[in-house]
């Protein structure tokens, strides 16, 4: 990392200035222009303004493969010899967290923030049949419970990542913000139409404990972004079919737009890792083995469509149009289609991440193929 100033161009005028200042008792030894000084950056307000990716210049844009930044200094800044080693960062290897275009994803998140208070037309809600309302509230209870896995856990990893890799940190912070809104909007849905909260998810695995416990960022990201959020995204995208009013439609549409960024982060991180550190591919495949088991058998626990859970029963009611046995059976059939869609989207994401060979060489769980072709 460049930590030297390059004063040649300015040295004469600065020396004069500094000498004058020093005569007056000031130290001013820090007043030295850096390598890029004078390189003006113009931004176009019509093209999104001044974006994080626009300011990558000179030593400030150099992302080290391995970071020795233990004081928490901003990337590219000059070091102080006496700064305390307060960083305690476990993520100091670029491949462990990096992805291309994290700045763009962050700026997109900033532009697409929304408000659960005013951007959902709550006033359009009308009383629903009791079984439908209960199903909505059960699904909302599930979602308000699991959404903040995706806030608390990235939070831990942000604090453990060197600020030399601030771009993925910034994206993950935007994700915390998004997840707060999701936790909040589904809680609001439970109370907005004369219902209330329903039952908690029955076990810790179901509420995402495996994501909390991950000891490696990529392991965590595969479980959270690729698996958990991928599954939830497929559900949100079905929102139109399980909504009973404009408010619910808005909730699913807005949440899906956030969720697709979170999933994109995970896919792009895996893609970067598989391209730059192929030695880790085998390890990543072993995480995917577990994820696929979860996808089929429900061991991962982030899937509201997982059969046998209150949220999947709620989905059957919502998709079928009621708790009458005929309607529910219809709903369960549609829910099966949702699970198929989840599997197809999962396969597509893994291919984009550069790990699609598992679907060619027989490594992928055989049942996935049955879902894809069903």
């Amino acid at each position: 990392m460049a930590t030297e100033a390059k004063p040649e161009k300015y040295i004469t005028s600065f020396q004069q200035l500094m000498e004058e200042g020093r005569k007056n008792g000031y130290r001013l030894d820090w007043l030295l222009p850096r390598e890029t000084f004078g390189a003006r950056i113009d931004s176009d307000p019509d093209a999104g303004g001044l974006l994080l990716q626009d300011i990558d210049r000179g030593p400030f844009a150099e992302i080290p493969d391995w970071s020795n930044n233990m004081s928490g200094r901003p990337r590219g800044s000059l070091t102080r010899a006496n700064a305390a080693r307060v960083g305690n960062y476990s993520i100091r290897t670029k491949g462990d967290i990096w992805l291309k275009n994290a700045s763009q994803l962050y700026e997109e998140a900033v532009q697409r923030q929304w408000s659960s208070a005013v951007d959902v037309p709550w006033e359009t809600m009308e009383e629903l049949p009791d079984d439908i309302e209960r199903a909505e509230c059960q699904l909302a209870t599930f979602l308000t419970e699991v959404e903040f896995v995706a806030g608390d856990v990235p939070g831990k990893w942000i604090s453990q990542t060197t600020p030399d890799y601030y771009e993925p940190r910034m994206f993950l912070i935007s994700q915390i913000m998004d997840e707060a809104r999701h936790m909040d909007v589904f809680r609001k849905r439970a109370f907005a139409n004369g219902g209330g909260l329903m039952s908690q998810t029955t076990n810790v695995a179901l509420s995402g404990g495996a994501i909390d416990s991950a000891r490696d960022f990529t392991e965590m990201s595969a479980r959270l972004h690729i698996s958990g959020e991928g599954l939830v995204l497929s559900i949100f995208r079905m929102g139109e079919r399980m909504s009973y009013n404009a408010a619910e439609k808005a909730i699913y549409r807005l949440a899906a737009s956030d969720e697709s960024r979170h999933v994109a982060f995970g896919v792009m991180h895996l893609q970067y890792l598989s391209q730059t550190d192929p030695q880790r591919k085998e390890e990543i495949h072993s995480y995917l083995d577990e994820i696929e088991l979860g996808l089929i058998a429900g061991t991962g626990g982030q899937n509201p469509a997982q059969r046998g859970t209150p949220s999947s029963a709620a989905l059957a009611i919502l998709l079928g149009g009621g708790s009458d046995p005929t309607l529910m059976a219809e709903g369960a059939q549609i829910a099966l289609a949702v699970r198929q869609r989840q599997v197809k989207e999962y396969v597509q994401r893994v291919k984009v991440a550069g790990l699609g060979e598992r679907f060619e060489n027989g490594r992928a769980n055989a049942t996935l193929a049955a879902y894809v072709s069903a």
Partner: protein, 368 residues
């Protein structure tokens, strides 16, 4: 009320070959602590707020959350739900502030973007010494904010989801700090000056090394450091050398003030529940004041401010007069937050803070 449906497994199988039950189990359908609650949209355009959900049987916020999982407050607890781990701050006095829910909604309704809401085209054309001083200040403010994002995000896994209003607010606070980080990084880069000298580490350390508790973190981060940063921003909003500098600072002040509002409300609440906490908080603040004063004895930040407010190296003596006033206002701001939190520091204020409060006869000098 819907009847529970328990159907025997039929002959259908899913693509994985597993038997598909004829109908889903509906034993959950009457599992609720209070049915028939309807939250209302705020009458004056505020929409559906998170505080509006605290009604009926859901209005009570308990003093203790007896489990360590993500049970939404008021949901029907599943037997055997177990512990996820983490979430060890289970007492209300360790995190609560009545205003958290309101601050959360306010943060969202006042959201803004450094990319589009700052007139960056006005940020050019300063003299080199002033531009460099701005870049030094931007480096330090950016680092302050970066440390803050690490600190808050790192605590989220420890704070019980039972007090979700706090978690919601802290999510906005992390996001606000991220915006300050990138806002000042953009400012530093807009004329190529970039990141200059990292900030002295004393206060960063005081904020990060707070194993003792979240309240201690709040005291260091939002009573002391935030009072200094907010005061600097106020001066920049008034005396910043370009329109962009004034606009950026002015935009950031409300963000900082929300954190301060949570902080004072939280500490006041903690002391109201456990008055003995005030003793430890006082001692803690004494330590943080020491760290802050030591950082300020390093002249880099104050010299940069003096150049900015003096409009150049030649005007530094005049600039330093402004800096002295700024530091005086910083200590006043800090003391008023302490007072609002029922934590009177006026009699136990550290010596160096007293000197700053008096207006300081001399600018800070490097110490031998």
């Amino acid at each position: 009320m819907v009847q529970q449906q328990h159907q025997p497994t039929g002959g259908k199988r899913d693509p994985g070959g597993d038997p598909v039950p004829e109908l889903p189990d509906l034993s959950w359908i009457d599992k609720t602590l209070g049915w028939g609650i309807k939250a209302r949209v705020e009458p004056f355009g505020g929409g559906m707020t998170v505080d509006a959900l605290n009604i009926g049987v859901y209005a009570e916020v308990p003093d203790h959350i007896p489990f360590r999982n993500r049970l939404p407050r008021g949901a029907y607890p599943a037997p055997g739900a177990g512990s996820i781990g983490g979430y060890y701050l289970q007492d209300k006095h360790e995190q609560w502030a009545d205003c958290a829910g309101r601050l959360y909604e306010e943060a969202i309704s006042r959201r803004w973007s450094t990319a589009t809401d700052i007139p960056w085209e006005t940020a050019h054309g300063l003299n080199d010494d002033v531009e460099l001083a701005i870049c030094q200040l931007a480096t330090e403010l950016s680092q302050h904010a970066s440390v803050e994002t690490e600190v808050i995000s790192g605590w989220l896994q420890n704070l019980s989801p039972g007090y979700h209003e706090v978690k919601l607010f802290l999510s906005t606070a992390t996001y606000d700090s991220a915006r300050m980080f990138e806002g000042y990084r953009k400012r530093a880069m807009v004329n190529g000056g970039g990141m200059m000298l990292e900030s002295p580490g004393g206060m960063n350390r005081a904020i990060l090394e707070t194993y003792a508790g979240w309240s201690q973190t709040v005291l260091g981060m939002w009573f002391v450091r935030n009072s200094l940063d907010t005061t600097i921003l106020r001066y920049l909003a008034a005396y910043g050398p370009t329109e962009a500098d004034r606009a950026l600072a002015a935009r950031l002040i409300p963000d900082r003030m929300r954190a301060a509002a949570y902080a004072t409300d939280h500490i006041r609440f903690a002391i109201s529940k456990k008055p003995e906490l005030a003793i430890g908080f006082q001692v803690w603040l004494g330590g943080v004041e020491y760290a802050q004063a030591r950082d300020l004895r390093d002249p880099v930040l104050t010299e940069a401010l003096a150049i900015i407010f003096g409009r150049g190296v030649a005007g530094m003596d005049d600039g330093m007069t402004v800096v002295r006033r700024l530091l005086q206002d910083f200590v006043k701001t800090y003391l008023s937050r302490c007072k609002q939190a029922n934590l009177d520091r006026s009699k136990s204020l550290s010596g160096s803070f007293q000197v700053m409060l008096s207006g300081m006869p001399a600018p800070p000098r490097p110490q031998a």
